[in-house]
Subunit: 462 residues, 2 copies
């Protein structure tokens, strides 16, 4: 192993060794088994301290790339091939956050065709304003005090009611309020996973999650997402190779493909979860966009090994930050402990506003209206894309997203440029893949489809 | 090393070995240097798999208790003595969260003399309600949309203005909005620390932080807190022994002692930070309770190695969840990346409510009134405690807390029992110490002192 060690670089020696060793592993022996130079020899060859080498090797062990066999030395781990092909934790993370920054900072005057939220002119203020004023007027504790650790009982009771039509039998004791979907994921990652663990994600899938997992030094393995849910054949093959702790599944109106898991696939996933002993996070934050409920993993499983996530950010308000987790009762205490240690509590005010709108029926009516509007927009979008000969991954039965590809061969860069010329901002497609592979597919948010800029872009790219 | 291995136990073998080895290290060789049995021998003696032993040894290495010397074997680490005396990560964590649950779940009819927030009858609703209604009426984006990744520019500008009288020259680009003080700490822990790192905390100090650090597998080392700040002599001695990444200091109206750091101690701490290359988190969430500003670490240091935390939870509302971090400019991007990956954004609505109250002057007036009330209550509390011959750690110049001890010898359990008989809920004193040592000292929140139950309790315990 030849390394370049630069003593004058601001990069610590240990890190230089680690980087060099990663490159060496990738180039020479990712199949596993090959022995690394001994600490003594590497230190002597490069005239560096043994401690720096030890530190670098320990990091490689922690990353799952290298296996230490005490008394014998360090060897490339069997799993290295799968891991080394991934972007390094930091790079992947920066790409994801750059994508997020891009969407948030996009010029006010561009059309956010690739974003993950509804346009502001869809937002109806009256019911929400009314609820806010009511809580502000009536509830001193609502505007001033910490919420309870688990979240208010009355709100959890209302959520229990809302889960019933989905055939999810969670009682209020199994429900923990959170500060939205991303916060829910973060809490679960911290409760269920250790650095070095393997997590299966859907690919394409929710890229913020990939970044979050890399931040926590979790190994991310992508399972292809098909029109009926995760690709079961590929899942079985990957289970022969990896022992995941968790599989994250966006079951209904999947982000970004818009597809919905079928009962048969859901059943098979749960069978495999039992057989291979992994947990499932079922992300169902688009649930309220669905007209008639379909099968949830949490419904089949009875919240045994499924952690079910819901949110009010997509339908009601992204500003309030209210979401929830329904989970096995045995996990509630620990989950709430982590929530308290990391944020004390969620916003009692926001929780009371949501409670008010669930109680007075205005949330139910809002969701109905949104479903109607989204169905209409989805039909328009599919029509427009088909006319322009775009390829469509799945024809979604509802929700916000279509995953589509222009009919002409175009590099992702050329597509982004074309979009910019039309004043359209996209989410970079490659971010949706666990391995960040370049792709001509893009996520289209159908709620923006009636804007002339969307039409112009779709037609020009065909 | 004799281990009990029980094959029928639900506890994995590796974990049984780890627990046994920890006990052996604590009992026999916490001074460091002693060699552990070889993996081969331990596996043979107990007829267990080598993999289980390897897994246990690797965990001990990760915990800093054991050092692997490749080619030679495993040895007790020099730092083991300091680490083994700490409660195990999980136990410490549960104790902390139990303490928090206790306060949150305390009977409505008990007096929360030990809690960390103002009584609800101190809360003045009019200005806050007014601001809430104004935002709800005027700002469609405020009630619906995600906030920006770093937080709204106008709010960060206002915070920059508020830091000026404290001689902290942070520009708005250096300020990142968060969901309150605990969220700020969590973001910083995740940005600055790795599992196994050493962090210095003040002891007594903020116990939620101790739990958070243990959750992240950080080694917590306590530095005694004196009336003028951290004990410099002890700090120097500990720096000869440990290389901390971070020192967490609650500089003004310290929780739980109420003491405030002096300029001389602040200067010395910063000198040591430079010399030993550690970062400082300056927690200043009680800043707005102070009549005339005193020296902040962030003011001396110019936000070079100090991360400064502020919050509106203690003064304005614990329900809204608004806090901020002022930090070195070079750290902002990464900090915001972590914030986005773990929660997307804070509540734009809550941020706009705070902005409104900062702009219209109502927050400034509220803080003035609270300062006046707290000064009065503090004088009453000190008077009452002195009359009853309680010992007082420091006579605070303001803020919410006094750290005090009854004049009679009483076990912590007896004190808690006595409090319960008076319908008073305390925060368990030992939680405030990094090593959870039993203590007769308790934290008294002076804003509750006028209640007859407080008086009765203080007199009965004397």
């Amino acid at each position: 192993m030849k390394l370049k060690v630069n003593r004058d670089s601001p990069t610590p020696i240990a890190q230089q060794i680690e980087t060099g060793a990663r490159a060496w592993i990738a180039a020479h022996g990712a199949g596993g088994g090959r022995r690394l130079p001994s600490i003594r020899r590497l230190a002597a060859t490069h005239n560096i301290s043994r401690n720096a080498v030890i530190e670098a090797y320990e990091r490689l062990v922690a990353a799952g790339l290298v296996r230490s066999r005490p008394g014998s030395g360090f060897y490339i781990a069997d799993s290295a091939a799968a891991l080394i092909s991934q972007p390094a934790a930091t790079n992947g993370l920066e790409e994801v956050t750059n994508g997020l920054w891009g969407l948030f900072n996009a010029n006010e005057h561009t059309l956010k065709l690739g974003c993950g939220w509804l346009p502001s002119d869809w937002r109806e203020g009256d019911d929400l304003t009314h609820a806010i004023r009511q809580v502000a007027r009536k509830s001193r504790s609502g505007i001033f005090e910490y919420s309870t650790p688990q979240g208010p009982q009355d709100l959890r009771d209302l959520i229990q009611e809302r889960l019933r039509p989905l055939a999810i039998n969670a009682n209020a004791q199994q429900i923990v309020m959170t500060g939205g979907g991303s916060h829910s994921l973060d809490l679960l990652v911290r409760m269920l996973l250790e650095p070095g663990d393997v997590v299966f994600v859907e690919s394409p899938g929710y890229y913020n999650l990939f970044g979050l997992l890399r931040l926590q030094r979790i190994h991310v393995v992508g399972v292809p997402r098909l029109a009926d849910g995760p690709d079961i054949e590929r899942l079985e093959a990957l289970l022969a190779q990896f022992q995941p702790k968790l599989f994250y599944i966006n079951s209904v109106f999947h982000n970004p493909t818009g597809s919905t898991i079928t009962p048969a696939v859901a059943h098979r996933v749960l069978q495999l979860a039992q057989q291979h002993d992994f947990q499932i996070v079922e992300d169902d934050i688009y649930a309220d966009f669905q007209h008639a409920p379909t099968t949830r993993l949490a419904a089949l499983d009875g919240l045994n090994r499924v952690f079910y996530l819901g949110s009010f950010s997509k339908s009601l308000s992204s500003s309030l930050r209210v979401g929830f987790i329904a989970c096995p009762l045995s996990r509630v205490q620990r989950l709430v402990d982590i929530k308290m240690l990391t944020s004390i509590s969620a916003s009692r005010f926001a929780e009371q506003v949501v409670t008010t709108m669930l109680q007075n029926g205005s949330y139910r009516k809002l969701a109905e209206r949104l479903r109607g509007k989204l169905s209409y927009q989805m039909a328009l979008a599919l029509n427009m894309l088909k006319k322009a000969n775009w390829a469509i991954h799945t024809e979604p039965a509802g929700g916000m997203f279509v995953w589509a590809k222009p009919p002409v061969d175009m590099t992702p860069e050329a597509l982004t440029e074309l979009a910019e010329r039309c004043s359209v901002t996209l989410s970079p497609g490659h971010l949706f893949f666990a391995d960040h592979q370049p792709t001509p597919w893009i996520r289209i948010n159908v709620s923006y489809i009636q804007d002339p800029r969307a039409k112009e872009f779709i037609e020009l790219a065909s």
